[in-house]
Symmetry: C2
């Protein structure tokens, strides 16, 4: 394990919107899932108002992705993106045993590298 | 991999508060870190106003934990808990290469098991 700065989203100062997506992978169709995941990462970056995202999934298949946007309009735009909607549909039917989405407004943030924050 | 319903926080209807904690493990002191993590999970459950939490960490050491609370007071209470503060201090100095905290208000939520949501 080593520091991977790129795993962290580099966000502007709050406020912003967070879409917290929790999911349990079904274990089905690993290749299709991996392809779609990579494509969604690529697509969301092109979405107007997208600020950044962070993602982690453990060996048990439970994962959390948090995507940050500058407005509800940006979230709606991403939600209505045709290719994203098609992937989501497959996710709900095949790739995830269960998922949960929570939409939130971030109003404060802090952090940093090791030992820089007490 | 299989569905693990217990990985999901069973939350009341929004609104609630979310503390989104992202971290990159340093790789140092795995045993001490694992002990402290387990103890924090135990302690936060006793915190008044705690609603639930979800957590995932990948093989690269990058992890996201989202803890949900019913108020800013509950977040403050947890933040000021002496044993949590001591663990946090060790986290900042030793266990994490880098971390980021974002505090947010959840205003909508949806999800479910496979194929139940289109």
């Amino acid at each position: 394990m080593s520091a991977d700065a790129s795993a962290f989203a580099d966000l502007p100062a709050p406020p912003c919107y967070a879409v917290i997506f929790s999911s349990q992978r079904s274990g089905d169709d690993e290749a299709g899932y991996a392809r779609a995941s990579a494509r969604m990462v690529e697509l969301v970056r092109e979405q107007p108002g997208f600020l950044g995202a962070e993602s982690a999934r453990g060996a048990d298949g439970f994962g959390i992705t948090v995507a940050y946007f500058d407005s509800e309009d940006a979230i709606r735009g991403w939600r209505e993106h045709a290719e994203h909607a098609a992937a989501r549909e497959l996710g709900h039917r095949r790739w995830y045993e269960r998922f949960q989405v929570r939409v939130a407004v971030v109003h404060r943030a802090y952090g940093g590298p090791r030992a820089s924050v007490a």
